[in-house]
Point group: C2
Chain length 321, copies 2
């Protein structure tokens, strides 16, 4: 029997743990929603307990595992298996999560940035299968990315490569990123920008067709609300979606010039805006790339669905092969 991969995805609301077959399909999984209240040690125990329970339930032994991959948002020092900082878990600073989980297992444990994990998952099982060089970009509340170079994840010196969300594309922008800088791609183009952009347009006198309550709290504006606006042909929602697409298109163009990949794969919640969004991203990209594309190049949507977090984390263990 081919060994089973184990993946753990530490999200902002869910802790997902899954056993994954080597074809990328999920054998079994479990989801906890109480992990953000745990201490560092408690989280390591929770992850280890979940894995052991999933193995027992599926009558598998630890030796049936190829390894355990853990994906976590934030800055990860890959070589040391350390969470440097993460916005998902309060108080986690320079925490050696990999070794804390490794203490419970003899198979190798890998800790990486969640976007790196998703990128490798798409490369192994999804839209990037068969490609040698690609970039994966996930666009939701924030923007994360992973870089595949010569069939391997490129992590950089610390392990923080691929932070295209923090590259600056509009230096004079009033929009501030969580990192403290103005005009990062993340600040102007993804979920965290939507409340500002919506309020700005309403305050400038633009009229929304969305039926919002009196005293509406603009901080509630998110991708779902704008998707509803798009469906209701709301000009404010549509303008914001196009604004986001404009900056994402520029971001992808910059990635194309910097890395000359064969493929860029897009994932994340804002892709639910569909073709209206994707077509604008592509339009902005191709208007700039024009005659500088010398070989086949594509911008495509991720193929792994909602389980991309755990499947991606599990795929990291295939790097060991």
């Amino acid at each position: 029997m081919k060994k089973i991969l184990c993946g753990v995805d530490i999200g902002g609301t869910k802790l997902s743990t899954a056993l994954v077959r080597q074809d990328g399909t999920v054998l079994d999984k479990c989801i906890d929603c109480d992990h953000v209240d745990k201490t560092e040690i408690q989280l390591a125990e929770q992850i280890s307990g979940n894995i052991i329970r999933l193995l027992d339930k599926n009558k598998l032994a630890e030796t049936d595992l190829l390894g355990i991959g853990i994906g976590c948002a934030g800055h990860i020092r890959f070589r040391d298996g350390v969470i440097i900082t993460t916005s998902n878990l309060k108080g986690f600073k320079e925490y050696p999560l990999r070794d804390a989980v490794q203490a419970h297992f003899s198979v190798p444990v890998i800790l990486d940035n969640d976007a790196n994990a998703q990128a490798f998952g798409e490369f192994k099982f999804g839209a990037g299968k068969g490609v040698e060089n690609m970039v994966f970009l996930t666009i939701s509340t924030g923007i994360g990315a992973g870089i595949i170079i010569n069939n391997r994840l490129y992590r950089g010196y610390t392990g923080t490569a691929g932070e295209f969300g923090h590259t600056i594309v509009e230096p004079g922008s009033g929009l501030k990123c969580t990192c403290g800088n103005h005009g990062c791609l993340m600040a102007v183009a993804c979920g965290m920008a939507l409340p500002h952009l919506f309020r700005e347009k309403i305050e400038a006198g633009e009229k929304t067709r969305l039926d919002l309550p009196a005293g509406f709290d603009y901080s509630m504006v998110d991708g779902k609300l704008l998707k509803q606006g798009l469906e209701e042909n709301d000009p404010v929602s549509k303008a914001i979606i196009l604004d986001s697409g404009y900056y994402v298109g520029i971001g992808l163009y910059n990635i194309f010039q910097a890395l000359n990949p064969q493929l860029i794969v897009l994932g994340g919640g804002l892709l639910s805006w569909g073709d209206f969004y994707l077509n604008h991203i592509r339009k902005i990209f191709y208007e700039r790339a024009r005659d500088m594309i010398f070989d086949p190049f594509e911008i495509v949507i991720s193929k792994i669905g909602s389980d991309v977090g755990v499947i991606g984390a599990a795929s990291l263990t295939l790097e060991l092969c």
Copy 2:
């Protein structure tokens, strides 16, 4: 005897050919200034003839060479050894220069982008010695770059990776790059931007201390003139140098977030502006990178001097080892 490296640098005004020792020192070189008027085939003959003459003059045989590396500005399809486009040579389109030179030699011939060649030279012999991951950026009339990942040049799918000069850092800018886009790093930060920036400031009423003739042609504004302005404490020259430093600082910050290298090496003519320029580049960079630098990181000046073009081209042959 260790084999000798041969390097050829096809510049916009000079064709340099050199024999280089494996420690990166030049054994002998020759320079032509008539190559831009040649046809494609004539250029291949000129390069081959120069190499054979240099070998004869130094009592060396072709078998004493490790290989021949050729650096050329523009878009190079590395795997095929083809110049896709280059602004240095008129009419060169999709020309297989590597094979045309290879026809004269039995040792391997390599053709690459000139900034890639310089990057590899700095990595092997200069400021990047001992580093595994670095980016080299040359700032002169245009901006070129090369990426070293895991001790090797990363060229991307076509061979055009590292075009940070074409990444867009000010989308709303009125300044247009030779590529046709607005707000590329190249359009706003390097030699090609200087005439526009100078005229703009003068037309806005700013006073220069430079003693310019009546009817001065602004297209003559270049790095040398601004260096003179800097030395004469000219406020217009200094403001433009700071503007350039601002965008280069943002460009370096974007490279840092994208690739997380250990080191960025800067070269090119505009570095003659000295510490006034470099300090501003560093200031802009560190103001943005702040607490997101988790491991030692440096921005340094290239160590190979004016021969970086041919030495870099020659160093490409060490990739064969």
